[in-house]
Symmetry: C2
Subunit: 119 residues, 2 copies
């Protein structure tokens, strides 16, 4: 389970690009080589290679070796770590919106409580 800032930065940033998300979607059906992954896109193979490096650095994918090929594999554990982070902050209290004024009144009373940071 990651909760490290830099690791979350890298992972969320990696998913913030349609090409990389598309690569993830492809890999969810099984491993693929760079050439295979590059084929659907109109950008250069080098650009796709860079995208894969971004995903790899975020540890969302791993790579193996098969002769000249460097097959790319999804790392489902990292994806799960992201849903885990999100779930921890998804706020259940549905009434929070309605009781806004009351909440503000209360929390503005004293100096704002030092945020506890994500964990």
């Amino acid at each position: 389970m990651i909760s490290d800032d830099a690791a979350l930065d890298a992972a969320f940033l990696a998913l913030a690009d349609p090409v990389r998300r598309s690569i993830i979607a492809r890999l969810s059906r099984g491993p693929a080589t760079v050439n295979e992954l590059a084929e659907p896109f109109e950008i250069s193979k080098q650009a796709v290679s860079k995208h894969i490096q971004v995903l790899e650095q975020a540890e969302l994918v791993t790579r193996t070796r098969d002769a000249q090929r460097r097959p790319v594999h999804l790392n489902p554990a990292r994806l799960e770590a992201l849903t885990s982070w999100i779930d921890q902050h998804r706020l259940v209290r549905e009434e929070q919106f309605r009781s806004l004024d009351a909440v503000l009144e209360t929390s503005a009373g004293q100096a704002a409580p030092k945020a506890k940071e994500e964990q």
Copy 2:
């Protein structure tokens, strides 16, 4: 449920920053004003205001009005949309990694010559 590329870009990008994730974490405990949200950080309030705009544009948060204040509220639905996207691509087959060569053999059948033999 969002699946729109631009919306996903914006949402994942918004989470790819420790300040913005920290803001989300804070908001998961209830709404807050810009000043309250800015207090824990060493950056300027203007910078925090920009971060909030990024979150707002990604529709991860919404804003209301309370006199001079512009309270920020979490939008749990958007967060859920992200976990939903991830879950759709989280690949269950655990054996995928082991059967790499077989998979490559199959998918490379028409594109490449003879793949490597079993290890």
